[in-house]
Amino acid sequence: MAKPALAVAAPPVAARPADVRRRPARPGRVEGARRALVTAVTVGALWELVGRLKLVGDGAFPALSAIATRWWQDRADYPPHIAATVRAASLGFAFGVAIAVLAGVAFATWPTLERLMRGVGITLFAVPLIALVPVLILAFSGTKPRVILAALAVYYPTMISTVIGLREIDPRLPDVIRVSGGDDRAVMRYVRLRSAVPSVLAGMRMAAPAALLGAILAEFGGGVRWGLGSYLLASLGQARPARLWGIGLVATAIAASAYGIFSWLGARVTRANLSATLATNATPAVLESGPKRPLWQRAAFSIASVLVVLGLWAGVLRLLHMSPVVAKSPLGVVRYLATGARGANARHRLLTALRQTLPLGFLGLVAGLAAAFVLAVTFKLRPSLGRAVFPFALVTQTMPLAALTPLVVLVFGRDVLATTVVCLSVTFFPSFVIISQALSATSPKADDVIRAYGGSPWASMRFVGLPAAVPALLTAARLATPRALLGVMIAEYLATGNGLGFLLSQSRGLLDYGMIWTVAATSVTVAIILTQFVGLLERRVTRVAGNGTS
């Protein structure tokens, strides 16, 4: 029997408004675009003015018109650079996403595997990518370091959002599959994979600018003719501010459009995924952590996951058949640091560099977070201002750090201030976005309760907003910590002449292989320790605040 004849007689879906739920219209959209435009024009005009009057950095901050003119003159130079970088970034993105999604599916299927591989995930999340550049260039040739670094940059955000997407499903749906005769694999196939699509796309949205960052950073390692990173490096040497800005803006435009494409795709898919009825009787099965395991077991898993990281490090070197002189294994690094006068010297230089890098990173991080917090709270109290600035912040957070740093160095010089400003600017925008989102996600009903008792917007902020914003601040801190370290190290690597970043580039020049690997290992370790510490703080506060962002 084919389609029943009734189908013709039945009224079409839209013709029965009483029976049919409609998506609410979104009148704010046009308004939002208008505000964004106003902001863009205002920022542009200010920029032009500041540039024209040479108010900042004595011409290091050129007017928009000067940048545009320069860009037009350089237009023939761009295509090969853009093509090289975008090609490497796209390749790395594709590999990274493929591996990350497969890993995510595997982790969601076998939780033990996830626990063992957690160290790898944390390492890739925390690693200051610049630290890997010399190592990758030692091990690979041609375009491979770029592709690999892009893939490494992509892995963590994509993997973690895949795992979250696969786990945080409507808890009613697995029951439906089971009573229909399905097993866990059927739940994966018919529910989890499809449910995870919006989350995976959100991960890819974060990952796309990261891939570009990875590719550009690898180009900083030198040895390649084409690429936006090479172009930036060359222009930094020539002290051509307008060109440097042009390249930075082009890189930002590429990153922002990649971000935009995945945002758009994500918004489309998310609409289709929204359940018609909210799960009223059940909250989503958030990260099935299960019963708390005994301490010895957790300790065993922690040790095992560290061993997995070290094992991977040593294993990859062996696989590549690299000479132990050039490629240091974990043991090689320990031996390098521990033996004789050379070891003592290396330890001294390493500690000196750490003492230079860490305070600056910390200072920039705190400044960036504080600025983000204050601004987010201010904009919540003055929403019209926030709506105008928010789209701008959203675009700016996609700006590749690698393109941003030379600009800051240019404007603020090659000293402590420049490093701090790099750090501030790389931590500010993402933190601002996270905290603003937490503030706007508070229940409007809670606001209504405050207002019903005659409370002012400030009271509402105090009782509803801030409790949500504080956990978000710590989340932002955890996410910003590796970025801060990376920002400082890039600034040091390119310009300032001290700290871990400089030690890295210096060792590269001196072919001090032991130090290259030592800096890489140290910066990864430090980043992991710091992010874990902030993570611990975050969990504490979130527990006390009682799921502040719900």
Binding site: A9, A10, V13, L173, Y190, S275, T277
Partner: protein, 265 residues
């Protein structure tokens, strides 16, 4: 069209629950959800489980659906374990929430059990079901475009897709308003009469429990027990006006008195 309703040929229970116990750990305390519960339903009959919140009726239904296992006692569904029955696609379940896949159309939601069981999708059956539950014209609509009652119809059609021997309904109309609920009960009777699968209907509304069932099992809470088994003698199809007759009231009042007596032997 599909074949007519199968004859009720035997009084052999299609559903046989004997002495089932189930306990849960709730913050370190043992809570007895079900205490020696026994329920039976002959092939092709409709039974209601009624009781206040916390009497374990949903727990029992999860056991029947094979989503949970009893601590002791046996459950026999059409000669199989619940687990075997659902793996064979002979079990249909509709929950209080329709729990449709939001990204699938009505038609593809109803096709889901076939796909999960790795069987060829019976398109004719699906079209017939859509018509049976009164959703002709909405085949391609997504759950988000449907009203609550319509979504519940989809869930019932999905539960019936594989022509189950046993149908479990867990307060399927619990989230609907009173008027719609009455209409859906009359609809449910019509749909059920089409094939007469052995059906367990969980509810906390006396009227619908009695109106739909051949037998009403009244449950009492803490621990969950069967307080009484009440037989409903009315012939089918039952007319909506039945609920206003004295005979109906007599049975409903009796169920009510058991529910509110609180004294269980």
């Amino acid at each position: 069209m599909p074949a007519g309703p199968p004859e009720v040929t035997t009084s052999e229970p299609a559903l046989h629950v004997i002495g089932v116990d189930r306990e849960f750990d709730l913050r370190g305390e043992r809570v007895r959800a079900l205490d020696h519960v026994s329920v039976e339903a002959p092939v092709g009959t409709f039974i209601s489980l009624i009781g206040p919140s916390g009497c374990g009726k949903s727990t029992l239904l999860r056991l029947l659906a094979g989503l949970d296992v009893p601590d002791s006692g046996t459950i026999d569904l059409a000669g199989e374990t619940p687990e075997a029955l659902r793996r064979a696609g002979r079990l249909g379940v509709a929950f209080q929430d329709p729990a449709l896949l939001p990204w699938r159309s009505v038609r593809r939601n109803i096709a889901l059990p076939f796909q999960v069981l790795k069987r060829p999708v019976d398109h004719a059956r699906i079209e017939a079901l859509i018509e049976l539950v009164g959703l002709a014209g909405f085949e391609e609509a997504r759950p988000g475009q449907l009203s609550g009652g319509m979504r519940q119809r989809v869930a019932i059609a999905r539960a019936l897709a594989t022509e189950p021997d046993v149908l479990l309904l867990d307060e399927p109309f619990g989230a609907l308003d009173e008027i719609l609920r009455k209409q859906m009960n009359i609809e449910l009777q019509r749909i059920w009469l089409d094939r007469r699968p052995t059906t367990v209907f969980v509810t906390h509304a006396i009227e619908e429990a009695v109106f739909l069932a051949d037998t009403v099992f009244v449950m009492s809470p803490r621990p969950g027990r069967i307080a009484e088994k009440v037989t409903v003698p009315f012939t089918r199809p039952r007319h909506p006006d039945l609920v206003r007759t004295a005979d109906f009231h007599a049975i409903a009042d009796h169920v009510s008195s058991v529910l509110f007596s609180g004294s269980v032997g």
